[in-house]
Amino acid sequence: MLVLAIVMVMPFLWMISTSLKTPAEVFKYPIEWIPSNPTWEHHVKVWSGTKSFGTYYLNSLKISLIGTIGATFLSAFAAYGFSRIEFKGRNGLFMLYLSMMMIPPQVLFVPKFIMFEWAGIYNTHWALILPAMFTIFGVFMLRQFFLSIPHEISESAFIDGAGHFRIFFRLVLPLAKPALATLAIIDFSWHWNDYENALVFLIDENLYTIPLGLQNFILENMVDYNGMMAAASAAIIPMIVVFAIGQRYIIQGLTNSAVKG
């Protein structure tokens, strides 16, 4: 397990070690995992100077947080509708949803671009946040989870006179905490690392997100890997925080399931 785990973190280690190396050491063989003369200059460079990463950081945080909260909530709502309410056209609609997930995103850029411009949100953060709130994957994932919550639970609640809204908020959501936390983690990482949407829909440099900021390290005919990896290592911290918080909820589910069993 531990050996496999090391394979999993290898790129991460390389990222950190490269951020402490000099350019000449980056591509040396055998790979130096621990730099002989570590230097912090690249990290300093990332956070100081005219193009500090601070702005990109805040922008990314704003977009990813709003997007993730919105997406998790809206997905849960829709997933409940798709899994626990019987209504006409439900399966057809769900298939439509699924099929929309299959469209390659590159093809949607041009029409989205025209739409955003028309709505006046091109080159604003809303061009990233609004679409981010709708994730078909999230609906699908939560639907699968809600389906496996025993029906007897809601049936007894119905008999007690509870409506769908109460069942949703009081029963299903608490039971689905592990799934919600997982979705939030995954969704956050998508928004956090989203490069293409940010590239196409943002122009002003003070609106840039971290993935766009990393492009600053691509020089004309070469790449400043040390600087890029220094910035990328800093970019990973919020992800770790989100994961740490999320993991607690995933485990909390254990105690909940005991109640339900």
């Binding site: 000099t22 350019p23 000449a24 980056v26 591509f27 671009f113 411009e117 709505a119 006046g120 949100i121 091109y122 080159n123 604003t124 953060h125 809303w126 946040i129 609004l130 293409e196 590239l199 196409v200 122009i203 440099e205 492009q215 600053n216 691509i218 020089l219 004309e220 005919n221 070469m222």
Partner: protein, 440 residues
Amino acid sequence: MRKKGWLAGFVSLVLIASVMSGCSGGGSNGKAELSDAKAAGAVVKLKMWGGVPPEAGPQEVLDDWNKDHPEIQVEYVRYVNDDEGNLKLDTAIMTGQDVDLFVNYSASQATKRVTSGVAADLSTLTDYNIDEKMGPEAENWKIDGKFYGVPTTKSSYFVALNKDALDAANLPVPKDWTWEEMMEYAKKLKQGDGYGFIQNTEPFVDPIDSVLAKEGYTKADGTSNLDHPLVRKWLESLNVMMKNDATTAPLGEQLTSKMPVEQMFLSGEVPMLNIGAWLLRSSNNFTDYPRDFKIAFAPVPRLAEDAANHMTRGGLGDYISINAKSKHQQEAWEFLKWYADGGMSPMAAGGRLPASKDADQEAALKSMLGDKGDTYDQESLMYVMFDNKTPTYVRTVPQEVMDLRSQEYEKYFLDSQDIDTTMAEMVKRHNEYLKSNPQK
């Protein structure tokens, strides 16, 4: 019942709409502040998009201009000159509001923008004669006989040589050489397991283009000319270098290790490097690339025996266009003229020498070499940059053709396809391309 369902839908629609209008309100508020600032002194703000990182020259150029021209302030927006970066520039141009000037780095990019009608026709502006200022090589940048931009830099391609290694092996710095002669040099200079000659993938195909730019990419009957005997010769010679002589990196190794060729050359590991003027930026940087030898320069070797018919890649570059939708074309034009006539000289430190005859070449050259002048063999540098009178070409091959060529020759160098199949496939695919894109 039905009505209520509709109501719910309507409410949510209104909700979304209000969220959206809220955001657009936010967006335009931001813009309003900007235009307030503009109104204060009736300052015209221009945006120039370029691919060079601002600290490598552009920022200094713009600071110089902005200081002297308070009424026209130019701001620099950097895009990365790759597929994604060009896409970003093009989407920005399509909105018609955020781009006034943009730099094209290849003729095919420029052509694409001109046919889309986003580059202003500069031939109507008569107060600046581009042909006269930039010399005969500007001709390469005319699109359908007109200028849609100003080529501003001299772009030189050359083979950088480790002078100390050449001296030790008793080899002169060549002023004109064939591919075979270069292969001999590589064998003599090679040390142990090391290579004698390396190159980036960017100028990799230049020898073929040197031939075809002269002889035409298509034959008289309109079919592909990629089966030219010199194309085959290029394939075979490089193959010999990679496999028999082991004087250059096998392609597989080069592609998968992202070989840092500049660093390999500057550290003294490999004595010959096929590159362009951009090398100067790293070769002047002794902090990151310490170096203890002198660099000399030679023209790119030719495949053809006959020197008289040879063409070499180079000429002019950095083709700057004015957005046809820009509201400030006049101001942009004023700036562009100033830029081309020497305003751009701070860019020289990054290997970009001004092309205009009115720019101070001497000063630019000095700023290009900085305090590292002694570490170059200046005579050969002057030769490849200025004195070499070999006619030049600008690569105009469409991206599709570049790609289909490289896909086929990669298979050859990696031994998954023999030379005859490679030649045949290249020709076949090129012909298919020509058929579906008949304009050329």
